[in-house]
């Protein structure tokens, strides 16, 4: 059976049988897409499987890429402006050359309870890493800034459009050095806020979860809409 299984997996576009150690949490939107498609199939409703109405884009393959980055720890949090610094890295090598990106959205889930009501004001900075650096040895020099914004409370999931960046990485895999996420302290700190700051930052480090939602379209299976005339 092993031989036939391998052949069928290749037919499905997989190199080998996946054996994940721990199943990742599945976002609500992906569950909904699956449920809607199952319901439509059960009712024999014709579906356009090249359009994702839940996301408002064309595409026939959705990947929620896991973050393989790491934290930079600052032992003296009181002496710098950083609450946390983290490298974000998403491996795009599974995206086939012929696939075309139609969506790439970074999701940053900061956790529901990591930001105290009376905690300090924080600011989030997201930038592209443009120069190689020694992983785990030094903090990369931030390149182009993609986002600079206050961290809202309650946070929920923050989403950032990375379509251009992902397209660039796919065309130039050697340029995919990841992103640098920094959460900075906006407040002028006094002694009372300092305790709250350390708790808040520690909570953020525990609960932060990043993922990249990528939608691609295979032109062999789906056609791109014709360009509109001006």
């Amino acid at each position: 059976f092993q031989f036939q299984e391998d052949a069928f997996l290749r037919f499905l576009g997989l190199d080998k049988t996946p054996s994940p150690l721990k199943l990742q949490p599945v976002p609500y939107i992906l569950k909904k897409i699956v449920q809607d498609r199952e319901a439509a199939a059960a009712n024999e409703v014709t579906q356009d499987l090249c359009y994702l109405k839940e996301l408002g884009v064309r595409g026939n393959l959705i990947r929620l890429l896991a973050d393989h980055g790491f934290y930079f720890y600052s032992p003296k949090i009181s002496q710098d402006k950083f609450c946390l610094q983290k490298a974000l890295y998403f491996n795009l090598s599974a995206v086939h050359e012929k696939e075309q990106f139609t969506m790439a959205q970074l999701g940053l889930d900061l956790g529901p309870s990591s930001y105290f009501h009376l905690g300090p004001d924080l600011e989030l900075s997201l930038s592209v890493v443009q120069e190689p650096y020694r992983w785990g040895r030094s903090t990369p020099k931030p390149g182009r800034i993609l986002a600079l914004q206050s961290v809202p409370r309650p946070q929920g999931t923050l989403r950032f459009n990375l379509l251009d960046v992902a397209q660039h990485w796919k065309n130039n895999p050697q340029k995919n050095l990841g992103l640098l996420l920094e959460i900075l302290v906006k407040d002028d700190r006094d002694s009372g806020l300092h305790v709250a700051l350390e708790d808040t930052c520690a909570g953020l480090r525990r609960s932060l979860h990043a993922s990249l939602l990528v939608v691609t379209l295979d032109p062999q299976q789906c056609h791109l809409p014709p360009r509109q005339r001006r």
Binding site: L14, S19, Q24, V26, L30, V34, R37, A41, N60, L64
Partner: protein, 114 residues
Amino acid sequence: AAIPVPSPSCRSLCHRHQLFIHFRDLGWHKWIIAPKGFMANYCHGDCPFSLTTSLNSSSYAFMQALMHTVDPQVPQAVCIPTKLSPISMLYQDNDDNVILRHYEDMVVDECGCG
């Protein structure tokens, strides 16, 4: 969906049969998140010349069945899927990525002689 049950005399004729594939049976439940399985179905049954026209046959199947009656060396028309539909699968790969993709022609909706 309800499947029409042929009368006893027609049971051997080409029609769709239910076949549910449980991913657990394949050991694939360890990486496929949804669905748990799907109704793949299959086609099976005879395609006799006398009934070829009423069994959702192609023109070629009709001709092949006719040729078979003349020359038994020509194989009979066979019972095959005539309408297929896709399924969507949500699974996790070895890099902890969650992937949703659809696969065409995975479910047999209708059968006929071809």
